[in-house]
């Protein structure tokens, strides 16, 4: 008879295989039908796959903006909040998953930055946000979207994806003209900026990663350390003006 | 008008139940037959015009309701652009004669922003660009005191009459009109009810009539993939709401114009202002609009604005007895009689007169340039002293009109006021620009040369410099 931990391992592996099969299934559907396939997989799976392709943490606003043309999915901001809560509940349950959606952590206190999403199977330093990481992550996200748009074929969704890419390019300071999509130029411009910051940013993140790994438990390393108490006037019976 | 006079006139207007005129003449000349009107509705905070009503007065206006005012396609503005260009061409053929009625100052602000957007827009058609330039020229002319081109109907009512409500309520043209309408028996209540809907060039958005939010929603819907039938219905509703909104603004303007002319104020004493306004407009329309940016150009423009203000004030005081009466009480006009005439050779220089007044407040000072109201006589104040009678005696050296017997003879009753300085220092400021004077164009003041300084306070030095 298998031990419990062996069964858990097997369960994890089966979950991973199931996710893989579903991903292949949707790709096959899309190729076979020729028409647009409306993606119905669970949101968490879509986001995990998206992160896997992007190979960088992504901001939920960016995710929502590409999901519309990619999967015909409107993802309201509140949905991400629910997703975060569900993922933490799932972690706390007795049914482990091979990989979790998790948040990026601040480099100094290991607290969650709830809009930045990552995968639990990435190295810790790739899930940390240092003083300049926000810039780097925006640039990497922009680069990824532009590459997606560049590879997209024709059709209404490809058009929408191009406009999302143009917005990202404009935000990155690229020259953007109506109807013109010089993807290669945009990527070159953005990569030059990434190069400017990436080395020093990585050094900060690696150092922070090794410190946080010694301080925080597994759960906190995925979903953030709990915040300390904040004194709000009037919430304590003993509060007086002087103690605020 | 002083605050006390304003307040007491409001009390009287409240008692009388109607607006009371505060001038005896109009500051606006009679409408030419070519007078036109423009009313607009804008998107709040976007400063984008979304509807325009325009046309000749006395007829139903042309209406433009813009389905997508924020979009790049401005072909819907072409009818307005062509209308404006035609009006300007007529003005140029008639020596700058142009009169444009607008409901209130918000309309001019909206046209100015429209002008800013398109007057240098390389992507717009020539007609739209010209429209933009014309709008900028008109908005610029509107800031000159005494201009005769733009008739802001709400401001004209405020300048010529006082109502029995608070000044802030006078900011609402429809509420203000309740005080000019003899059919309204209770203007206090009527005005407060009318102020429920805005009258400032925006759509209504009250809980029972959310026109603005509705248009916002319809425009968003129109951008989604709609069937042809549904799209037509949505666009039709947008047009209907916008057209009704801008028609209301036009109707307010027409009512305010009628109320203004209904005051029956004579349009006299405005020739100088008409002339100045037409010349400014013609020059700008022919040469183009060039906003002043360089220091010398800004200085010249400030002088022009100041000069227009003075000339307007002088014209008003000369023509308007009611205004002159108020100015007299404030000491800005001296009403008195000629006590003595000192002129060794009749009809020749030198000539001075002594004028005595029983006014106890006069604001004239030595060296002020003054004119005698209603004549061509002007001079410089040389002395002011208390008269033995207890009034004030003023000695004036006559510079122009030394041959005027009627005005300068002893015993003649005259009114004296400050002469408006109409001189604009164009030449001086241009020369300063050519020399690159540090005060305008440099960052570092020049080092002062060593030397001896005059002793004494600046006031003492100035006194010593006066002509005896």
């Amino acid at each position: 008879m298998m031990e419990i931990h062996e069964l858990r391992q097997e369960e994890k592996e089966l979950e991973r295989r199931l996710a893989e099969v579903r991903s292949q299934l949707s790709a096959k559907h899309q190729a076979a039908s020729g028409a647009r396939f409306i993606e119905r997989r669970p949101l968490r799976e879509l986001i995990l796959d998206t992160l896997g392709e992007a190979r960088t943490p992504l901001n939920s606003l960016l995710i929502a903006s590409v999901f519309k043309p990619l999967y015909e999915r409107d993802v309201p901001a509140t949905r991400f909040g629910t997703l975060s809560a569900d993922e933490q509940r799932s972690f706390d349950s007795s049914r482990p998953r091979p990989v979790y959606l998790c948040h990026c952590l601040t480099h100094d206190r290991g607290q969650a930055m709830k809009r930045f999403w990552a995968r639990s199977d990435w190295p810790l330093e790739d899930r940390i946000i240092g003083p300049m990481t926000g810039r780097v992550l925006f640039l990497k996200g922009a680069e990824w979207v532009i590459q997606l748009a560049s590879a997209a074929g024709e059709g209404a969704d490809a058009d929408r994806l191009r406009f999302v890419a143009a917005d990202q390019a404009r935000d990155a300071g690229c020259q953007v003209q109506r109807g013109n999509f010089p993807f290669r130029d945009w990527i070159t411009h953005i990569q030059a900026q990434i190069t400017r910051y990436s080395e020093s940013d990585r050094a900060v993140r690696v150092q922070a990663g090794s410190e946080l790994a010694t301080r925080l438990g597994e759960r906190a390393l995925l979903f953030g350390a709990p915040g300390e108490l904040t004194s709000i006037p009037g919430t304590s019976k003993r509060w007086t003006a002087k103690s605020s | 008008m002083s605050n006390m006079q304003d307040t007491l006139t409001r009390v009287l207007a409240r008692h009388a139940g109607r607006a009371l005129p505060i001038r005896s003449t109009s500051s606006l000349s009679a409408d030419p037959s070519s007078a036109i009107g423009i009313a607009t509705i804008k998107i709040v905070t976007e400063e984008q015009i979304q509807a325009i009503a325009f046309g000749s007065l006395g007829r139903a206006p042309n209406l433009i309701a813009r389905l997508d005012p924020i979009g790049r396609d401005v072909t819907d503005l072409l009818p307005f652009a062509r209308f404006l260009i035609e009006a300007i061409e007529h003005a140029l053929e008639h020596e700058g004669e142009l009169r444009i009625w607008v409901p209130h100052g918000e309309t001019m602000a909206a046209l100015d922003v429209l002008g800013h957007r398109y007057w240098r827009n390389q992507n717009a058609s020539p007609e739209i660009v010209r429209m933009g330039e014309i709008c900028r020229i008109l908005a610029h002319e509107a800031i000159f005191a005494g201009q005769q081109v733009i008739a802001d109907s709400a401001q004209l009512l405020r300048d010529h009459a006082i109502t029995g409500q608070t000044p802030i309520e006078d900011g609402h043209p429809d509420a203000m009109l309740a005080w000019f309408d003899r059919a309204v028996t209770d203007p206090v209540t009527e005005a407060r009810q009318r102020s429920r809907f805005p009258a400032s060039g925006i759509l209504v958005n009250t809980p029972d009539r959310r026109d603005d939010d509705r248009i916002e929603k319809l425009r968003k819907e129109a951008k989604g993939g709609l069937t042809a039938g549904r799209l037509s219905a949505v666009q039709g509703e947008i047009r209907r709401v916008l057209s009704a909104g801008v028609q209301r603004e036009w109707d307010l303007m027409v009512a305010a114009r009628a109320a203004f002319w209904g005051l029956g104020l004579p349009t006299t004493g405005l020739d100088t202002l008409i002339d100045l306004s037409r010349k400014r407009l013609s020059a700008a329309l022919m040469q183009g609009h060039f906003p002043a940016r360089r220091a010398d150009r800004v200085a010249i423009e400030l002088d022009e604005l100041d000069s227009a203000q003075r000339v307007t004030e002088q014209s008003m005081l000369e023509a308007d007895g009611a205004a002159r009466l108020r100015a007299k009480r404030a000491g800005a006009v001296i009403a008195g009689h000629v006590l003595a005439r000192n002129q060794p050779k009749r009809g020749r220089h030198p000539c001075s007169i002594d004028v005595e007044t029983d006014q106890t407040v006069v604001r004239t000072r030595r060296d002020d340039k003054v004119v005698v109201v209603g004549t061509n006589v002007s001079g410089v104040v040389r002395d002011i002293a208390v008269a033995p009678s207890g009034g004030i005696r003023v000695r004036i050296e006559i510079m122009n009109g030394v041959r005027s017997t009627a005005t300068l003879d002893a015993g003649t009753r005259i009114e004296i006021m400050e002469q408006a300085g109409a001189y604009v220092r164009t030449r001086e400021f241009s020369q300063a620009a050519a020399r690159g004077v540090w005060m305008f164009f440099g960052d570092t003041p020049p080092a002062l040369a060593p030397g001896t300084w005059r002793r004494g306070s600046p006031l003492a030095i100035a006194r010593r410099s006066r002509r005896p």
Binding site: R115, W239 | M4, R196, P207, D208
Partner: protein, 349 residues
């Protein structure tokens, strides 16, 4: 929209003497609901922000914060004293999005930490987007006001943060209407006061916060930020401080009257302070106006100040000669009224 945060403080600063305003600030729920409960009928005039304005404001903020706040970095670089690419940015909505109280508390915690980091010389962002601050009042209902500037900008000149607010209304030739400017200055004043409190919190009162704030308006086209305007906030800070003091006084009185009931229940016992400006911004203006009905203040602030808020009937009596002047001042008023009446041909009704 209920009266809270900087909006409440601005209104209190503009009219500190009005007890009805104090009750509205204390009362939970929107102002229009307060009106309905006091007056007994729904509020039928326009109220709140239009969808078209919200859209523009949202779009302007979106543009300003996009690309790690690229446009803001470019606009504010001279103030920070660094090249735009070297400016560090932290957007607290990335940490904790949302407008509910738990999100505000979380952002307040982070803001306090960042202020402490900055004072201690640790690497802190130069721009903090959507920080959260707090102004405490003394114990009682509404014990604090949450204040949220759009940005805190670290200014090289002071070595400290100053508040900056983004305003999406159009500015031409760098001119803003006086009424708009007065209101936004008071808003900045409230933010500066809140920042003073937070700096006190982290530094034990050792930091002198400059009375400076920044306003960032938008260009007419494209919603790009205009060059920032630096505002002197000494007057605004003091006005807001006086407004808070007034609110504390009103709160004490209202608490004494209401004995645990909701604040709106005692509105008829409160003393309003009706001013002309109320007509442009307060839902209760017509209700409060009834306190000056038939008096000279009903004709405006100037009339009330000059004539002393006497009854209009008395003034009319002076005009008609049916009321004896009780002082030299009233005699002068009577004479002037009669002169003006003769001039305009106004006679007794």
């Amino acid at each position: 929209m209920s009266l809270k945060g900087a909006t409440a403080l601005v209104r209190l600063a503009q009219n500190p003497r009005c007890e009805v305003l104090g009750a509205m600030v204390m009362q939970e729920g929107p102002e229009t609901r307060f009106f309905e409960r006091v007056v007994g009928t729904p509020y039928d005039r326009e109220y709140g922000e239009r969808q078209s304005s919200k859209r523009r404001g949202t779009q302007f903020e979106r543009n300003a914060y996009a690309g790690d706040a690229r446009l803001l970095r470019e606009a504010l670089a001279p103030m920070v004293g660094l090249q735009p690419d070297d400016i560090r940015v932290r957007n607290l909505l990335d940490d904790y999005p949302g407008t509910k109280d738990d999100a505000r508390v979380a952002r307040l915690r982070i803001t306090r930490r960042l202020l402490a980091d900055s004072l201690a010389g640790r690497a802190a962002p130069h721009l903090i987007i959507q920080p959260q601050l707090l102004v405490p009042t003394k114990p009682g209902p509404r014990p604090y006001f949450f204040i949220a500037p759009d940005v805190l900008v670290w200014m090289q000149q002071f070595g400290l943060y100053v508040p900056a607010d983004l305003k999406s209304f159009v500015v031409r030739e760098n001119e803003v209407s006086r009424a708009d400017l007065a209101r936004v200055r008071l808003q900045l004043g409230a933010q500066s006061l809140a920042l003073m409190h937070e700096y006190d919190h982290v530094s034990g009162g050792k930091t002198v916060v400059p009375a400076t704030g920044l306003l960032i308006f938008s260009h007419p086209n494209g919603l790009r930020p205009h060059a920032p305007r630096t505002e002197d906030l000494r007057g605004a800070r003091e006005a807001v401080r006086l407004g808070i003091e007034a609110f504390l006084r009103h709160r004490r009185r209202i608490d004494g009257l209401r004995a645990g009931a909701e604040p709106y229940t005692v509105t008829t016992d409160l003393v309003p302070h009706f001013e002309e400006a109320c007509l442009a911004q307060c839902v209760m203006s017509e209700w409060c106006r009834s306190s000056v009905a038939g008096r000279t203040r009903d004709l405006g602030d100037s009339a009330g100040q000059l004539l002393g808020n006497i009854e209009l009937a008395r003034v009319t009596g002076l005009l008609l000669g049916t009321t004896m002047a009780a002082s030299d001042a009233e005699q002068a008023i009577a004479a002037e009224l009669q002169r003006i009446a003769n001039e305009y041909g106004v006679r007794a009704a």
